[in-house]
Subunit: 309 residues, 2 copies
């Protein structure tokens, strides 16, 4: 089978570290070109999606790895050209844009894949299987890290539309929605905004779910220089304890490690992309982004000290 | 045909002023009971949805007119009992809850109608017909009023989940999405938060739309003691000017009044509810609520002076 000629649009760190090796490791894909404003991606490199599409009429697919702001306009151009699309997380700047892309891809008969890479970690599918049909007693999400370590110089994360602590937190939401046997709803919460920021640096949230009887919570905090962790801990009504560690990479069941399965986060993501294209299906999952939006709809706001990264 | 035995759950001002007369004026409905925490609605009155459902096993439908916070739980009970549901705006506290109600109603085979009363104003349907298939040159939403006049004593509008100026502003969004020939996306904006509030008192927003070539904007402001107005002004690429006044009640085309049509806001809303029940259909429109959520996702935040209403 001829590999799918695929472009990476928005060549940056995540493209270089994850998308390039995942494409190289999957015979169904062939990296055909890249786009970056600086023109520094794998050749042939273009500085705009328009130039790419004009130069390469035989593209089959694209991965859009730009920041979320410009994704909608780029995706629209690509869908109009019949390309299958993989969107890095979060898929667009707004929920409205994602819905419109869903409609456009459906009308054009192309595959639209809104990815949440954390869902493809080794422990996530196993956790979902273990929780299927279970009632949940409690869930605790702890997503603590140091914004200075992980986003040095990226003050834009605190600009309007920059997501703030929801940039990592949305990964937790994507894992939680993938493993829980019913939807999650944000019930209440507090959002902590640095005095000079348009997005929160921390959030404490309480959820409900038709599958849960007890408290469901998330603590997202970008101010932790010690004790970084990315953990989701769940107790079932049957008394079992599931602990997803390292963002979903490791799973403990009642304290015992469950062997990780799968081929790795991004390789698994591209395998799924190929599968969706083969089945002429789309996978448009807005749930994690909707949880962020719902947090903003119901959250209290507190101002905390200014931040510079 | 036997009228649909209908309860009003959350009997307050909007129920008294609008729902009771609209039900009384439509032979397809019969007001069977009411629920209010104070027990002061039309008899028989109950103080909880649970009591209502236990006492009246022959109900056909309910209008839920409580604040949005508790709607999801009440709606879930009603759907489980097979009731057709009309939800006042905004349908729920979060987008996640609305999606789950959509799923539950579909599974139960009941009608779910998420209403936006402003869409049923006299000028709205005519404006939608005039704009069908047109390209839009500009749109300006001006939604200016005095929170002290319209919400005296209701400090909760500034609490978390209270919507702030989006409480009236969501009506503008509901009209705009009903009349424009393509979706609206929030591009950017500024949200003005009183120092003591969790929700904005004003918002200046810029939109884009696949149907539009020029600027689309909304000015929502609850600080206007003079010059109240609820206006949407649209210029088409063909040079026509549409002006919806008084929240959609009046329509001017190129300055000339277009005779209002329709039977009035809430009577029209109940006529549509009957139609949906007859066709065994639901109408779940989250677009206006999604525009609020998207405004919060991309908006800049500015702090303004504290407010007490």
């Amino acid at each position: 089978m001829k590999p799918l000629r695929t472009a990476i649009i928005g060549f940056g760190k995540i493209a270089e570290d994850q998308h390039v090796p995942a494409i190289a490791g999957n015979p169904r894909f062939e990296l055909a070109a890249s786009v970056s404003r600086q023109g520094n991606g794998p050749a042939p490199n273009f500085t705009s999606a328009e130039d790419l599409l004009a130069a390469l009429p035989d593209l089959d697919a694209a991965a859009i790895t730009t920041p979320p702001g410009p994704r909608y306009e780029i995706a629209k151009l690509c869908i109009a050209r019949g390309l299958h699309l993989l969107l890095e997380k979060p898929p667009c700047a707004t929920l409205g844009e994602v819905e419109e892309l869903r409609r456009l891809a459906e009308a054009a008969g192309t595959t639209l894949f809104t990815t949440w890479h954390a869902q493809h970690n080794g422990g996530v599918a196993a956790a979902a299987r273990l929780l299927a049909g279970q009632r949940i007693a409690t869930m605790k999400i702890i997503w603590h890290e140091d914004v200075h370590k992980w986003h040095p110089g990226q003050q834009w994360v605190f600009d309007a539309g920059g997501f703030g602590v929801f940039d990592p937190g949305i990964n937790a939401f994507s894992v939680a929605t993938a493993i829980l046997p019913a939807p999650l709803f944000v019930r209440e919460g507090t959002l902590f905004y640095p005095a000079n920021a348009h997005t929160p640096i921390a959030a404490e949230l309480a959820f409900t779910s038709p599958a849960a009887d007890g408290p469901l919570s998330a603590s997202l905090d970008w101010r932790k220089t010690d004790g970084e962790e990315w953990t989701i801990e769940i107790e079932t009504a049957d008394g079992a304890t599931l602990k997803l560690l390292d963002g979903g990479a490791r799973l403990l069941l009642n304290g015992d490690e469950v062997a990780a399965s799968g081929i790795g986060e991004y390789p698994d993501l591209y395998a799924r992309f190929a599968q969706l294209i083969d089945c002429r299906e789309s996978l448009v999952d807005v749930e994690p982004l909707r949880l962020v939006a719902d947090s903003l709809l119901v959250g209290k706001r507190e101002t905390v000290e200014a931040v510079t990264v």
